[in-house]
Symmetry: C2
Subunit: 209 residues, 2 copies
């Protein structure tokens, strides 16, 4: 009966337009009209696929969270490079170095701020993705500890949580123009070197590497 329209594709197209606006002009600039214009459709079409604006925003957050989850699983580059470098490379993913990562951070920050006051967003468990991330890192560190790369008196659960929180905080500082991305990466490397026994005891940091 229909005129054959791929619902998933249309929804993805509209959500992409929403996130594009949120990243460039801010989430507050993403109205039904601006999203429709960005997606190249009419306002009615947006209304048709997402009944209300709230549902559109929720779909945008879901899409963003899915991206994080995908990064968590597939973000393991090459285990052959040694655990220390694997951990470093994995955590560097969270430092916004290019425009794409900056855009992703911007969108997430907007949703994060909105969730603090909006009851509809607050109820959503976007914590799940972060716990998943921490689990991946913890498993990685557990393996490293068993292999003797991490001192046995280290508590891997605490180290994993702190490393992820450190990466988050460093990402914040980069986005706040507090330090350039490479400085954040150096600081991350410093901390990981402290954790891994095999690290050279002192390598230059804090300035340009």
């Amino acid at each position: 009966m229909p005129k054959l329209a791929d619902h998933d594709e249309r929804r993805a197209q509209i959500v992409a337009a929403l996130l594009r606006i949120a990243a460039s002009r801010g989430l507050h600039a993403a109205s039904m009209r601006t999203v429709a214009a960005e997606a190249g459709v009419s306002v009615s079409t947006v209304q048709y696929y997402f009944h209300t604006k709230e549902q559109l925003l929720l779909a945008g957050l879901e899409h963003q969270a899915e991206g994080v989850g995908r990064r968590a699983a597939a973000g393991m580059p090459n285990d052959a490079a040694g655990t220390r470098d694997t951990v470093h490379a994995w955590l560097v993913q969270f430092i916004p170095v290019d425009e794409e990562q900056r855009a992703a951070y911007t969108v997430f920050a907007a949703y994060h701020a909105l969730a603090l006051t909006d009851p509809a967003l607050a109820g959503l468990s976007y914590t799940h993705g972060s716990h998943q991330l921490e689990g991946v890192l913890r498993d990685l560190l557990t393996g490293a500890q068993r292999a003797g790369e991490v001192a046995p008196d280290r508590e891997v659960a605490a180290e994993a949580g702190n490393l992820l929180a450190l990466a988050t905080g460093l990402a914040d500082s980069v986005m706040a123009n507090m330090r350039p991305p490479d400085a954040a990466i150096s600081l991350l490397g410093y901390q990981i070197d402290r954790l891994f026994i095999v690290a050279s005891p002192s390598r230059p940091v804090a300035g340009r590497p």
Copy 2:
């Protein structure tokens, strides 16, 4: 000639209303009308003291930044308690444990997100406060290293930057309902124990302390 009105007081009153709304209902809910109603004045009064909404928002951010700066300077509780505990207590300030700190974090997060896309906010150097914070912490660690409480091969600049970023990231995780505040405080303590030589090598962490 005037009817005697303390401009600074009136401005402070209105800014307080703005921040109260931003913390409870979100910065997007802070319109000229809602702020005026919250402050108990008319819209014209808000217009009178802050010509445009942009200037009102900027004043709100300034007030918030001043609070951080005040915290940085006066936040040194008791040096007699030992450097390790001083550092810990100072950093715990950034973990939102009570409603007041949660409110402050909420407002800051909203401004942070807004600054990422709004050119008027982005130009403002609210980085200055963070650099000040890092300087305070660095001085503290330098003293501790000279006193032999921190191993001489530690780079205090990197440690200070990482500790502050860690506290920020942990605060993020608490506000995202990823972990309770006391878990974040425990993680912070774990990291500081790793930095200070005098720390007992293993104390329980990650669960309730």
